[in-house]
Subunit: 314 residues, 2 copies
């Protein structure tokens, strides 16, 4: 049986630092990322691609708010904005990967799936929403919105204003998991769990209902990798390797670490929240429960010997 890889693409797969997010930029970046993925395809891996949506969903929420303000378009809740971003990013990655495959005379079908992820309404994250998303508002605006809609807002640490904060609950069940595994093992490339998945939970009478939350895409990707029995889990980001004492004179790259070491560094606060820390947690989750390795690296080093940091069981 062919090996199955899950590759989690970072935000920079479509949008590089400093770019505003024009469609041309995003297509170019997606092509470059897709081009690098052929390294694994040439080694005959089956593949599931997951991706973030931070900058894209931010822009979608801005447009959403503006459409309501200017043209009275009904404002869509966050789960719908995440769904928008899955359609968008799934399409762009699929299209550019099709172009790359054609340029390389490779014949694989690519299937992009809209993914819901079940969360628990009693997840403690809902008690203290902490993940900032969407547009910046003035204090007055944020207070008015909080009063009108019940949303929570927090002051931006860099002084750019006030932003909505939402919960980032734990992903529990990813929809279509069996089908994703089956389709991928048949040799097709699957794109799924975009932006960590569209968060939904059960309300009364066991009805599914979307919710204003975002799911960490690395954690959702590691859950998917476990559930589909992936052989390898790659987390792509914008640094070549995980570092200790990052951005200090004592900075030191890590080639290999056990999950016990990773947990210790995490406990020591070596990794920034909202950046490397969730990737380390996702890696630990996958390695601990599968016994297989996880590699964290930058896109251009995917598949390079000794490229990236290898997180291992022991």
């Amino acid at each position: 049986m062919k090996k199955l890889a899950v590759v989690a693409l970072g935000g920079n797969a479509l949008l590089e630092a400093g770019q505003k997010g024009t469609i041309d930029d995003q297509e170019d970046n997606a092509y470059k990322t897709a081009d690098r993925l052929t390294v694994l395809l040439k080694r005959d891996y089956n593949m599931v691609i997951t991706h973030g949506n931070g900058p894209q969903v931010g822009n979608i929420m801005l447009a959403n708010a503006a459409g309501n303000k200017l043209y009275n378009v009904p404002e869509m809740p966050l789960d719908i904005c995440v769904a928008y971003s899955q359609g968008f990013i799934g399409y762009i990655i699929e299209q550019q990967l099709r172009n790359v495959l054609k340029a390389n005379d490779m014949d694989r079908d690519i299937i992009s799936i809209i993914t819901q992820v079940l969360v628990n309404k009693d997840d403690p994250a809902f008690k203290k929403p902490a993940k900032p998303i969407g547009p910046y508002y003035t204090r007055e605006e944020s207070e008015r919105f909080a009063e009108e809609g019940g949303a929570k807002f927090a002051k931006d640490p860099k002084g750019r204003g006030f932003r909505k904060v939402v919960a980032s609950p734990k992903p529990l069940v990813i929809s279509n998991t069996k089908s994703i595994e089956k389709i991928a093992r048949e040799g097709h490339i699957v794109i799924a769990v975009g932006g960590g998945g569209i968060p939904a939970f059960y309300v009364k009478e066991n009805k599914l209902q979307g919710i204003d939350a975002v799911i960490d895409k690395d954690l959702a990707s590691s859950l998917l990798a476990l559930k589909i029995n992936a052989d390898k889990f790659f987390i792509l980001t914008d640094v070549p390797k995980v570092c200790l004492n990052f951005n200090t004179p004592q900075e030191k790259t890590i080639d290999r670490m056990t999950i016990a070491e990773a947990q210790r560094y995490l406990d020591e606060g070596q990794f920034a929240e909202g950046s490397m820390a969730p990737k380390i947690r996702a890696a630990i989750n996958f390695v601990e429960n599968s016994g297989k390795d996880c590699i964290i690296t930058k896109t251009t080093l995917l598949g390079v010997d000794d490229g990236g940091t290898r997180v291992v069981m022991v």
Copy 2:
């Protein structure tokens, strides 16, 4: 082998006439539509669902324009707006159908696929874009946009202003067709070809590129139904049956018509463009090339004996 049905949902599946398009309205409507689909599932049909996106993509384009105006968010081209709408509508239909299945103790997985559709860049439709989409502008605005961006605009016949007009090229190849058939025949419900699909064509070096166009969803659905060898093709709309002399004292409903009759009525101008005419063309296309029947009816009459108009070969 179980029979396979393609059900094309009209715009009113999510948004009824007069509704503004709040998420609550759209969820409620999606639930009602999904509930009706169980009629076919109880008869043990396999099923592929396709859907329109008119009102939704209109709202998305408005928000898109407003986001650019108010917050300088990069404006997304039409193919991306269609991709947004596929994510959104696919998600909502899937979620409500999951709720309906659970309420009926039915166990089927539902897979929503982001669908690209290949069109020909030399399609004559690109020479005279005629399909109005998106926001209404003043004459001055529309002239400025036309000059800046090369888009075409046309005066709204009802005097509401000027709207962008885009081409509606013929769908040629629907991506993932084989996988859609396979997944559906395995018993899963597939949602695909939303809004007629995201239009793309080949530019230099055989690279796929999205394009500012919209594909007629009924025509794309009939192509899909043909390619996946569907046994039945249902086109759901907001009237119980197709009518001759619609909205006149001579109005007459049609229970059954051959494709020759359908073509004659079409040539006589019996069916309105942008409304019943494309459905009739889609029905003819399916019946002519498959020899099987197509039924045009309203959602609430799906599966009812003698409900709807049956379009047949002879």
